[in-house]
């Protein structure tokens, strides 16, 4: 462990805002993309179900 | 002309135009190829007068003199030294003994009037231009020492 404590870890030598701002943005982007992927898949499958119901 | 011949003519025309474009790029690059000079080259009068160019090397330790916003310092490639005058705010990471690249003109007195100063902060890293300048100077000195020995 190179950090003295967890608060030192979160503080990042006083640069916590910049480090966690970057990683936070990455996290948000990934979650947003995953949600978009999921809803697109759901919509596609629903339209296939719709097509199947038609004769 | 048949359609086939027309196509061929078009393709040939296109190639000629592309060749001309390449030639233009090459002339432009040649015009600026000597964009960067070392203190050794400047002392050997290889640098142009009346034209903007770049100079690269290390800031000589103890040479920086500030007078308000006017700054003078010396740039060295360890073989030769050139005085640089600059008006303006230096980058925060401009340090003595570190790499620097300055852009400007040489005045009649042999002082480099810089319009722009770029600095690099890292101990191991210099702007590639400055690094190669120091390397070249070292080589030149080594060669000189070699000749002296024999």
């Amino acid at each position: 462990m190179i950090w003295e404590s967890w608060s030192a870890f979160w503080d990042m030598g006083g640069r916590g805002f910049f480090v966690w701002g970057s990683y936070g943005a990455l996290l948000i982007a990934i979650v947003a993309e995953l949600m978009a992927l999921r809803s697109a898949r759901k919509k596609a499958l629903e339209s296939v179900v719709e097509l199947k119901r038609l004769p | 002309m048949t359609l086939k011949q027309k196509r061929l003519a078009l393709i040939l025309g296109g190639l000629v135009i592309l060749a001309a474009a390449t030639a233009l790029v090459l002339t432009a690059l040649k015009d600026n190829l000597a964009f960067f000079f070392t203190p050794t080259q400047i002392k050997a009068n290889e640098a142009p007068m009346n034209r903007t160019f770049r100079i690269g090397g290390m800031v000589e330790t103890g040479s920086v003199k500030r007078d308000g916003v006017n700054v003078t310092f010396k740039v060295t490639d360890t073989a030769q030294v050139v005085s640089v005058a600059y008006t303006g705010i230096l980058p925060d990471l401009f340090r003595e003994g570190k790499g620097v690249v300055a852009q400007g003109k040489l005045d009649a007195g042999g002082v480099f009037r810089a319009k722009e100063v770029l600095a690099k902060h890292d101990e191991n890293y210099m702007p590639p231009e400055a690094a190669s300048a120091v390397e070249q100077a070292n080589k030149a000195r080594a060669a000189a020492e070699k000749t002296l020995k024999y």
């Binding site: 640069r15 480090v19 970057s22 990455l26 596609a44 | 770029l118 902060h121 890292d122």
Partner: protein
């Protein structure tokens, strides 16, 4: 003249890659690649972040904030690589007329655009403490911004056509035009920057300590895996959408 896929299939019959150029045949393969990539991305990210945050020391020059590069540099690389991959599949689609190639291009574009945004955002947050400003019109930053515009153009163009086939080929063409122009734009921006930019320090990595480099490389592979997984997922969704009328897709949905 666009060859139909059936004709091209006939012409190249017997070659292994044509078997997988059919969306139906590639669908399960894409599924396997996707699963493997998600797993790889998760494992590599955990290992990379562990090394990056708990093993790698503080950087002597920049302090702790340098840890942003573990995501900044891979994101910037992926933004560029994905554009090249996109243009490659676009060219393949235009030359061979394979539908799957166009779908591959479409599947890659949104992830590439996201990578460009992340590279810009993290670059700004890294730049503030390091250079003293969120944004400089530095050559690399500016080119990444332009790359983002190229992605936006591609995505918007692909969506602008009601006729999917037309949208495929139109966006493929613009991807190619963009790919030809990327080096020219990069060169121009570099030139412009060296001439007009005021005093500032340019970004450039020094000789990096090997443990930091290890962490960054592992994170790069994690980004690769993530992008492949996301693209494969999107590709599968597109196959379902476009083949909705076919029997095998209908059987897929219970």
């Amino acid at each position: 003249m666009a060859r139909t896929e059936q004709q091209s299939n006939d012409r190249f019959q017997g070659r292994w890659f044509w078997r997988y150029a059919s969306p139906a045949a590639f669908y399960p393969v894409a599924g396997r690649i996707e699963k493997l990539s998600w797993a790889l991305a998760a494992i590599l990210a955990i290992v990379g972040l562990y090394i990056g945050f708990f093993r790698a020391p503080t950087d002597a020059q920049q302090g702790e904030v340098y840890r942003v590069i573990y995501i900044h540099v891979p994101a910037a690389w992926m933004a560029m690589i994905i554009y090249l991959a996109m243009a490659f599949w676009a060219a393949t689609g235009l030359v061979l007329g394979t539908r799957l190639s166009f779908m591959m291009s479409h599947a890659l574009a949104p992830t590439g655009a996201i990578m460009a945004v992340i590279a810009l955002w993290t670059g700004a947050l890294w730049g503030r403490p390091t250079w003293g400003t969120y944004w400089v019109w530095d050559a690399r930053l500016t080119s990444t911004l332009i790359l983002f515009f190229l992605y936006v153009g591609y995505i918007a163009l692909a969506a602008a056509f009601d006729d999917k086939k037309k949208g495929d080929r139109a966006s493929a063409l613009i991807a190619l035009v963009g790919a030809v122009n990327v080096p020219i734009i990069y060169f121009s921006v570099n030139w412009w920057n060296t001439l007009h930019q005021g005093s500032s320090v340019r970004p450039g990595s020094s000789s990096m300590a090997s443990i930091m480099l290890t962490a960054m490389l592992i994170m790069t592979f994690a980004f690769w895996a993530y992008c492949v997984a996301a693209a494969m997922h999107r590709l599968r969704t597109q196959i379902i959408e476009r083949e909705a009328e076919t029997k095998w897709v209908k059987e897929l949905v219970k």
